[in-house]
Symmetry: C2
Subunit: 245 residues, 2 copies
């Protein structure tokens, strides 16, 4: 940042790409758009767009998220999470020109009707992992976003961002199981969550049937805690050399 040599740089386009996750019907879904033009015409891609001259990347990401999903503003409302992931800047990641993309991961509670933005061809929720190769380096971005979300589930109360305002512990557990692709013991999960102050707050007297079967479950709200101490570790699939997956 020393010495602004006007000839030392060429113009870069700066964009945002969004990995928007939700849990629907016990499966992790991602919001994808179908590309209408070359390159990668007809392939699925992450939603995104240019950062406008008077915007930060965060503002642009919130705007794009609202455009694509019709959801309220980025960080304000309850049960919505938008977080910067990292920046992808390989010189050849877009064959047309130099594009530097700031990637974001977003978690939304339930798939509202997808509101196709003006410039978005078609946006759809697709199960994570099912669509073939995505356009550009979006497979990598999506995988990185998934890794980040999995990791943050361990030491933050982020999972409640996937849940409606009121939820049962069974629903919260299913969110964990869906994202981690692992099974959790209901009793132990309950003990852990309730033992972590600020994770969830009980709604006195409220109860609801979850799957139409079984005993009705008590309802909870997301608590104020942002970090979990101690963390809620995912089951360790032990690998031989001290480097569990």
């Amino acid at each position: 940042m020393q010495g602004y040599d006007k000839y030392a740089f060429e113009p870069f386009a700066v964009t945002v790409d969004l990995a928007v996750f939700t849990v629907r019907a016990g499966r992790l879904h991602v919001l994808l758009v179908e590309r209408g033009q070359e390159p990668y015409a007809g392939q699925w891609a992450l939603p995104g767009g240019f950062v406008l001259p008077d915007e930060s990347a965060e503002t642009a990401a919130g705007r794009e998220l609202a455009e694509e999903t019709g959801l309220a503003d980025s960080t304000g409302s309850v049960g919505l999470h938008l977080e910067q992931l990292r920046t992808y800047s390989e010189p050849d990641r877009d064959p047309r020109m130099r594009v530097v993309s700031v990637a974001f991961a977003a978690l939304v509670p339930d798939p509202p009707a997808v509101h196709a933005g003006s410039d978005a061809a078609r946006a759809e929720w697709l199960p994570y992992g099912t669509p073939g190769p995505l356009a550009f380096d979006h497979d990598r971005i999506l995988a990185d976003a998934h890794d980040r979300v999995c990791a943050k589930f361990e030491y933050t109360g982020l999972a409640t961002a996937f849940c409606p305002p009121e939820f049962t512990l069974g629903e919260l557990r299913q969110v964990y199981e869906t994202v981690w692709a692992a099974e959790l013991d209901p009793a132990n999960f309950r003990r852990k969550v309730l033992g972590t102050t600020g994770f969830v707050e009980a709604i006195p007297g409220a109860a609801r049937l979850t799957g139409g079967r079984g005993k009705p479950a008590a309802l909870y709200r997301a608590g104020p805690a942002t970090s979990l101490h101690p963390p809620l570790l995912r089951p360790t699939t032990v690998s031989p050399e001290g480097k569990p997956s």
Copy 2:
């Protein structure tokens, strides 16, 4: 990323900023450069520079790190760590023009002679926290980098990046104590580190005096483990509401 409207964006300058840490004389130090021109002339700033047209941000960061410190290439050599932090893109973060900066955190083992790059005014190692306000939003970047490093010390073997190729457990513990600004019980630290497979490897028969006093300590090398399971948690300064610092 739908529809490339050539008029929808203005050129952005893309730069990298580096928060380069080291531990020297039991204190955490940061590599800073003194700005020679406005704005913020005379103030300290993080080293950095433009991303060149054929570079990724990672390549640019490695190049800048090499230029400023004279150290070998970015990710290759032992005991060197370079990691993307996040991107800062507030529209007014540079008063002259629109600059989007990809920030990196770097850890280097010992302060080699600072090799002032051609464009860098003067680079110096300064104790973390001592210099007044940095230029631009570099205070925030530096604080974010420090947070990241502190957190990564818990669940990765990153601390060995601050150590020379061969080190004693006392030296490694001092690295933790310096970065975390906390005291650790030597015996418990030892038990934890040696009990984590792949964290460090003993060098049979080797021993060295650390501070000139006391019993000579056995020497160790950095192990192959990248992640620590279970993590080496820093002492919890308990705060009342489930959200320890």
